[in-house]
C-alpha cells in the first residue's frame, strides 16, 4: 500500500516537473501525437454490430516510444474482420427482385425487403508517426500509413509543422497529406452506368487524394482550450463504389423495368472538399466538457453539420464516467437518386426522371453524367449516444477504458430501414 502511494507521488512529481519544463499545448496534427514524455503500450478490442447488417471485429496494438528529448515515434497495427449484408443501392419494391451479385451469382430478394450483398473481408493497417522538435517552438510531425484488404489497398504519408507563438498560448499548424488507393473489386471493377448484365470489367482502378490543413489552437484560460482547423481536400480517380447499383423503375408500377433494370453507379472523377472543425475543451474542477462542431462541404453538393459532445465526471481514485452524444445531418449529393424512373408520377421527383426511350439501353451514359443510389450520399441523419467508464489499475497506473455507443441512422425521406448500430470497446494504456 505504502509502495503504491510512493509510486503515485513519484509519478505526480515527475509529471509536474514535465509540465513546468515543457508547458505543452496539445498539438492538433495527428491522433497519435500526445505530448507527455512517457513511453506507452496501448491495445484495444472493438466489436461493432449493425442490426441485420454488418459486423466488424477490430483489434489495435500501439507502441509509443520517446527516442530523444520530446522526439516520439509511434507505431500502430490494426486488424479487423468485416462481414454481413450491405445495401446494394437497389430500392425496396412491391415485387420480387432478382439481382446479379458482384461475384456473378443471381440473388432473389423478397417483395418489401431491402436488396443487400453479403461480404466477408479482413483488413490489416499499419500507421507510423514521428514527431520531432526542430526548435524551442517549432515541431515537425511525419506520418505514413498502409492498409490492405482483399479488394482495396491504401497507402499514404504526410507532414505537419506546428509553431507555438504568443508565449505558447497559440499553436499554428499546417500540414499536407497524400494518399493513393488501389481498387480491385470482386468480379472486376465495373464501368459506371453500364447494365449489370453487360458488365465491362477493368482490372484495377486508382484514386489519389491530397489534403491540406491549417489549424490554430488557442489557450483561452487556465481551464479551457480551443482549436479551429480548416482542411482543403482534393481527390482524383475512381471514386465510385464498385458494389453499388442503381435501379431503373417503371413510374406507374414502381417496379423494375423488364429489360436492364439495374446499372452500376457512377460518381465524378474528382472531388473538392472543405472542412471546418471547431473544438472546445473546458475543465470544471476535474470534470471535463468536450464539444466539437464540424462543417463539411464538397463540389458534389454534399454538405453536413456534425455536433459531438462529451462530458466526463471525475470520481474518487481517478475513476471517470463519460457521457457522449453526437448528431450528424447531411444534405445529399447532386447525383443521388433513390432510383431512376421512365416518366413522372405520384411521389416521383422530377430530377429522378429520364426519357422512357432509355428503357432497355445497355448504358445510361447518354442520359446521365453521374448517378448513385448509395444512401450514404443521400439526405440523412445520425444520432449517437454513449457511455464510457475509465479506471486506473494499480499495475503501473494502467488506464483501462470500457465504452458502449449506440447509433441510429435514417434517410430523411424514410424510404429505407433505419440503421441501428452498437459499438463495444475495451482499451488499455500501459506506461513503460
Amino acid at each position: 500500500m505504502q509502495l503504491n502511494k510512493n509510486n503515485n507521488i513519484s509519478a505526480a512529481l515527475s509529471r509536474a516537473s514535465l509540465i513546468l519544463l515543457a508547458a505543452p499545448i496539445a498539438n492538433n496534427a495527428n491522433a497519435a501525437d500526445i505530448n507527455f514524455s512517457q513511453n506507452e503500450y496501448s491495445a484495444s478490442a472493438m466489436i461493432y454490430i449493425e442490426e441485420n447488417r454488418v459486423r466488424v471485429n477490430e483489434d489495435v496494438i500501439q507502441i509509443k516510444n520517446e527516442i530523444s528529448d520530446d522526439e516520439f515515434v509511434t507505431a500502430t497495427l490494426i486488424y479487423d474482420v468485416m462481414s454481413g449484408p450491405s445495401p446494394s443501392g437497389a430500392p425496396i419494391t412491391p415485387v420480387v427482385q432478382t439481382i446479379t451479385t458482384p461475384s456473378g451469382n443471381q440473388k432473389t430478394i423478397s417483395a418489401g425487403d431491402e436488396p443487400t450483398y453479403g461480404f466477408l473481408d479482413s483488413r490489416v493497417a499499419l500507421l507510423a508517426n514521428w514527431a520531432k522538435p526542430l526548435s524551442n517552438d517549432l515541431k515537425i510531425t511525419s506520418n505514413a500509413s498502409f492498409s490492405s484488404e482483399y479488394d482495396y489497398i491504401s497507402s499514404g504519408g504526410g507532414v505537419t509543422f506546428s509553431k507555438e507563438t504568443n508565449q505558447k498560448h497559440t499553436t499554428l499548424s499546417s500540414g499536407l497529406a497524400l494518399t493513393y488507393d488501389s481498387i480491385k473489386s470482386v468480379g472486376g471493377t465495373p464501368e459506371g452506368l453500364n447494365s449489370l448484365d453487360l458488365k465491362k470489367q477493368k482490372s484495377t482502378e486508382g484514386k489519389t487524394a491530397v489534403d491540406w490543413l491549417f489549424g490554430v489552437t488557442q489557450v483561452v484560460n487556465r481551464h479551457s482550450l480551443m482549436q479551429l482547423n480548416y482542411t482543403l481536400g482534393y481527390s482524383s480517380g475512381y471514386q465510385s463504389d464498385p458494389y453499388k447499383i442503381i435501379a431503373f423503375l417503371d413510374a406507374a408500377s414502381k417496379t423494375p423495368v423488364a429489360i436492364n433494370p439495374y446499372y452500376y453507379e457512377k460518381r465524378p472523377d474528382t472531388r473538392l472538399s472543405h472542412v471546418l472543425y471547431l473544438k472546445y475543451i473546458h475543465d470544471f474542477s476535474g470534470d471535463v466538457f468536450n464539444a466539437v462542431y464540424r462543417f463539411f462541404k464538397d463540389d458534389w453538393g454534399i454538405s453536413s453539420h456534425t455536433l459531438d459532445f462529451r462530458y466526463t465526471f471525475l470520481f474518487k481514485k481517478q475513476r471517470k464516467l463519460q457521457l457522449h452524444a453526437r448528431y450528424y445531418n447531411q444534405q445529399r449529393a447532386n447525383f443521388y437518386h433513390y432510383a431512376l424512373y421512365n416518366s413522372a408520377g405520384t411521389g416521383i421527383n422530377n430530377r429522378d426522371v429520364i426519357a422512357n426511350s432509355a428503357v432497355g439501353n445497355d448504358s445510361l451514359s447518354a442520359e446521365l453524367d453521374f448517378a448513385s443510389a448509395d444512401h450514404r450520399l443521400g439526405d440523412l441523419e445520425t444520432y449517437t449516444i454513449g457511455v464510457k467508464f475509465q479506471t486506473t489499475l494499480s499495475y503501473k497506473e494502467t488506464l483501462l477504458d470500457v465504452r458502449f455507443d449506440h447509433f441510429r441512422q435514417q434517410d430523411k425521406s424514410k424510404r429505407f430501414t433505419e440503421l441501428r448500430g452498437w459499438i463495444a470497446q475495451i482499451a488499455a494504456k500501459l506506461p513503460f
Binding site: 509540465i19 513546468l20 508547458a23 499545448i25 496539445a26 498539438n27 492538433n28 496534427a29 495527428n30 491522433a31 497519435a32 500526445i34 484495444s44 477490430e58 489495435v60 468485416m82 450491405s86 473481408d121 483488413r123 493497417a125 506520418n143 500509413s145 498502409f146 484488404e149 482495396y152 504519408g157 498560448h169 500540414g175 497529406a177 494518399t179 489534403d211 490543413l213 490554430v216 488557442q218 489557450v219 483561452v220 487556465r222 482550450l225 480551443m226 479551429l228 482547423n229 471546418l276 472543425y277 473544438k279 475543465d283 471535463v288 463539411f296 464538397d298 454534399i302 450528424y328 449529393a333 450514404r376 465504452r403 455507443d405 441512422q409 448500430g421 459499438i423 470497446q425 482499451a427 494504456k429
Partner: protein, 100 residues
C-alpha cells in the same frame, strides 16, 4: 482588439445583406461566412488570459489534450467514415479503406 473585431463582424453582416443571391454572390457569401467564423473565433480568443508556466497544470492533464481518447477516436473515425459522406477535421493522414 476584441471590440474592433466584433465591429468588423457587424460590418460584414451588413454588407452581406446587400449582396443579391446570384451565383457569384453565393460564392462570396461562402467566403464571408468563413471569414466571420474566423473573426468570431479570434474576437473571443484575443481576450484570453495570459498564463504562467506553473498555471498550466490543468491544461497539461491528459484528459485536457485535443487527442485524448485516441483509441476510441480511431475506431469512431473509421465507423462514421464508412456510414457518412463527410470525413476529416481533426487532422490529416491515417489512410483510407474500402469500407462497406
Amino acid at each position: 482588439m476584441g471590440f474592433r473585431n466584433l465591429t468588423s463582424v457587424v460590418q460584414l453582416l451588413q454588407i452581406s445583406r446587400k449582396i443579391k443571391k446570384t451565383k457569384k454572390a453565393k460564392k462570396i457569401m461562402k467566403s464571408v461566412t468563413a471569414l466571420i467564423l474566423f473573426t468570431v473565433f479570434f474576437a473571443t480568443t484575443t481576450a484570453c488570459t495570459t498564463l504562467k508556466p506553473w498555471e498550466r497544470d490543468i491544461l497539461a492533464r491528459e484528459d485536457m489534450q485535443l487527442t485524448a481518447d485516441e483509441m476510441i477516436t480511431l475506431m469512431d473515425d473509421q465507423i462514421y467514415y464508412s456510414k457518412e459522406a463527410a470525413h476529416g477535421g481533426p487532422g490529416i493522414g491515417g489512410g483510407g479503406c474500402g469500407c462497406n
